[in-house]
């Protein structure tokens, strides 16, 4: 196995995953801790016949990838909190025109400029609710370098399949961590569906998949795209019924396919009496803590969210087993725990465990926490 293994940094793995998935256009603006993605793409895009452009800010970056996506390219941008805030309007626009785009948000410590080189998981809710209006995004959360590679591929595929923005929510630690990974297996690629006939072409008409077949610009279909509410023709309307149908479809095209989109990783949930629910880098401390607890005879288990959004309460409930206590460690003041509490109400004891000093939650801290809280 060792010949195939290459030592790679998380950010490089995102860039290489994107390239393996067919991304050939990258626009971005440097920001710690995501900059290595841009640096890797600046070098790699010309090598694979793609385009790299450093834009003047993150607003321009996301709009440029939307433009390139509408012109048929698979696209990526990468940023961190301050830049992700600037990207919000473009994110909503991409949802509305159904442009497949992938954004890496490598979480650093916020709010505002915060601590550029310190880790956090403070952007979780921003990925879901950062832009205005009812909208739906897919958010994937890697917890290793290997997974940064694999989930970026998956993100590109999901973006193309559902014509929707997909966010890879990483963090400072994973972005800069180096681990050996195997990138020798070529991935399965998904291509966006395109219209076949020009006759009766309506860009936003859909079949039962609810995913439209919008033509790429410049292919002779003469499409209109707008962030205004639009019907199947792509033209603006202020008709409330059309608006309702559009927003419902934007939701349903994802929610009708939750089996395809949602992934968890579970570890010894079945008989667990204490269950940890976590995502990203925090799950690695959890994993080691569970191991230690089990070795001491304590029935601990773990559920790690690989897909964070869409978040489906039923699926979480089913995957969670019967643990009476659920601990939710996260590097923020309590964001994931809000969702977990929504799922379980008062039926389980849901305990937040938060750390907001820019460091990780270590396995030992988890063990101490259980002891101190008598869990």
């Amino acid at each position: 196995m060792s010949e195939k293994m290459v030592l790679m940094q998380g950010n490089e793995a995102v860039a290489e995953g994107a390239i393996a998935a067919g991304v050939r256009f990258y626009a971005g603006y440097p920001i710690t801790p995501s900059s290595e993605v841009a640096e890797t793409m600046a070098k790699r895009m010309p090598e694979v016949g793609g385009t790299f452009i450093q834009m003047e800010d993150e607003i321009a970056s996301i709009m440029a990838i939307v433009g390139a996506s509408l012109a048929g390219k698979k696209v990526l941008t990468a940023t961190s909190g301050p830049g992700f805030s600037l990207m919000q309007e473009g994110l909503g626009y991409a949802c509305m025109v159904e442009a497949p785009i992938v954004i890496l948000d490598s979480m650093r410590y916020g709010p505002s400029t915060g601590m550029a080189t310190k880790v956090s998981q403070m952007d979780l809710m921003q990925t879901r609710w950062g832009t205005h209006g009812d909208h739906w995004v897919i958010v994937l959360s890697p917890s290793s370098v290997e997974e940064s590679y694999q989930l970026t591929i998956r993100a590109v595929n999901l973006a193309e399949k559902y014509r929707n923005p997909v966010i890879v929510l990483s963090d400072e630690t994973i972005s800069h961590l180096r681990e050996p990974i195997d990138i020798s297996i070529p991935p399965v690629l998904v291509e966006r569906r395109l219209p076949t006939a020009k006759a009766d072409y309506l860009p936003y008409r859909t079949d039962e998949s609810l995913v439209p077949t919008v033509a790429n610009v410049g292919t002779g279909f003469r499409t209109s795209c707008t962030g205004l509410v639009h019907g199947e023709s792509g033209f603006q309307t202020a008709n409330g019924h059309v608006a309702e149908a559009l927003v419902e479809r934007l939701r349903d095209k994802l929610f009708n396919n939750l089996d395809d989109i949602i992934q968890f990783e579970t570890d010894r949930v079945e008989d667990a009496d204490v269950l940890f629910m976590s995502f990203g880098i925090t799950a690695r401390g959890v994993s080691e803590a569970v191991e230690t607890l089990r070795s001491h005879g304590r029935k601990a288990g773990s559920l790690r969210f690989i897909t964070l959004f869409p978040f489906d309460d039923d699926r979480v409930r089913k995957a969670a087993g019967n643990a009476r206590t659920i601990v939710v460690p996260e590097l923020n003041s309590g964001q994931l725990v809000l969702l977990v509490k929504r799922v379980f109400g008062d039926s389980r004891k849901v305990v937040p465990m938060n750390k907001i000093n820019g460091d990780l939650i270590s396995p030992q801290e988890i063990l101490n926490f259980l002891r101190e809280e008598n869990l």
Binding site: G67, S69, A71, T223, L228
Partner: protein, 264 residues
């Protein structure tokens, strides 16, 4: 004009009677037609504003983006498919206020797109507020006592930022406008045309510019051809707007230096 370049089913348009936007759009279609561009290869990208609605009335691929963001979208499209003719339709506010940063950087990069600014000296769509091109002393809904600041000179701004083709014209000078749009579109590199139109509903009304017709015909009094202006003194040109071609230079050729090898 070729009607097949319009989506007649989308008409009537949203513009007020007497609005100058239709005339600029007409000039743009005329220019595209005269250049004999294949309509399948033309993409119009716009921001938000009355003017930015124009592309949706055309039969080209068109992308109505966000306020100020047409230029980066156009940049993405052009880089993704360099064979396309990519034209940005934008307002004075869209291009020089919220989108000003994108404008200067696209000019600096000399991206091969054409930016057509439908310049009516105010924010039409939101009710006639001041824009960065609103002349000093003008009345708008956000400058009830007159605009205090100086406006940008869009031509100088684009030229200073590195645009390789810059022109200004007005809708009264229909042929002049079409000619300069043609040259801008045909130009290899970043081109900008400041196309002065009127917003009778707001700017015209607040500043007592008369009817829409009077606003158009008055252009011949306060606009001066560049060739004429060159023979005039600054005093004679006070309060005048000069039209013509201001920059037409060869595209900046990107110099690619081999990347230095990484040091151990």
């Amino acid at each position: 004009m070729r009607l097949d370049l319009l989506r007649s089913e989308r008409l009537p348009n949203i513009w007020c009677p007497g609005c100058g936007n239709g005339i600029v759009l007409r000039a743009l279609l005329e220019a595209i037609d005269q250049l004999q561009l294949d309509p399948d290869n033309v993409v119009l990208v716009s921001g938000i504003g009355c003017s930015s609605r124009a592309p949706a009335y055309t039969a080209f691929d068109n992308v109505h983006s966000l306020h100020g963001r047409a230029i980066p979208v156009a940049t993405g499209i052009k880089l993704a498919n360099p064979d396309l003719t990519v034209i940005v339709v934008t307002g004075d506010g869209d291009s020089s206020a919220i989108g000003g940063n994108h404008l200067i950087h696209a000019a600096r990069r000399d991206v091969d797109i054409t930016v057509v600014v439908f310049n009516n000296y105010n924010y039409g769509m939101t009710g006639g507020q001041a824009s960065p091109l609103t002349p000093t002393s003008s009345i708008t809904t956000t400058t009830p006592n007159g605009m205090l600041d100086r406006p940008f000179d869009l031509v100088k701004l684009a030229a200073g930022a590195g645009a390789t083709y810059v022109a200004r014209s007005g809708i009264y000078f229909a042929k002049h406008l079409v000619d300069h749009l043609k040259k801008a579109i045909a130009h290899d590199g970043f081109s900008l045309v400041d196309a002065v139109a009127q917003c009778p509903t707001y700017f015209g009304r607040f500043n007592r510019k008369g009817s829409a017709g009077q606003m158009v015909t008055s252009q011949k009094d306060w606009m001066v051809l560049k060739s004429v202006a060159e023979k005039k003194t600054p005093e004679e040109l006070a309060g005048k707007v000069i039209i013509g071609e201001f920059v037409n230079i060869e595209r900046h050729a990107p110099v690619s230096a081999a990347a230095p090898k990484e040091q151990a």
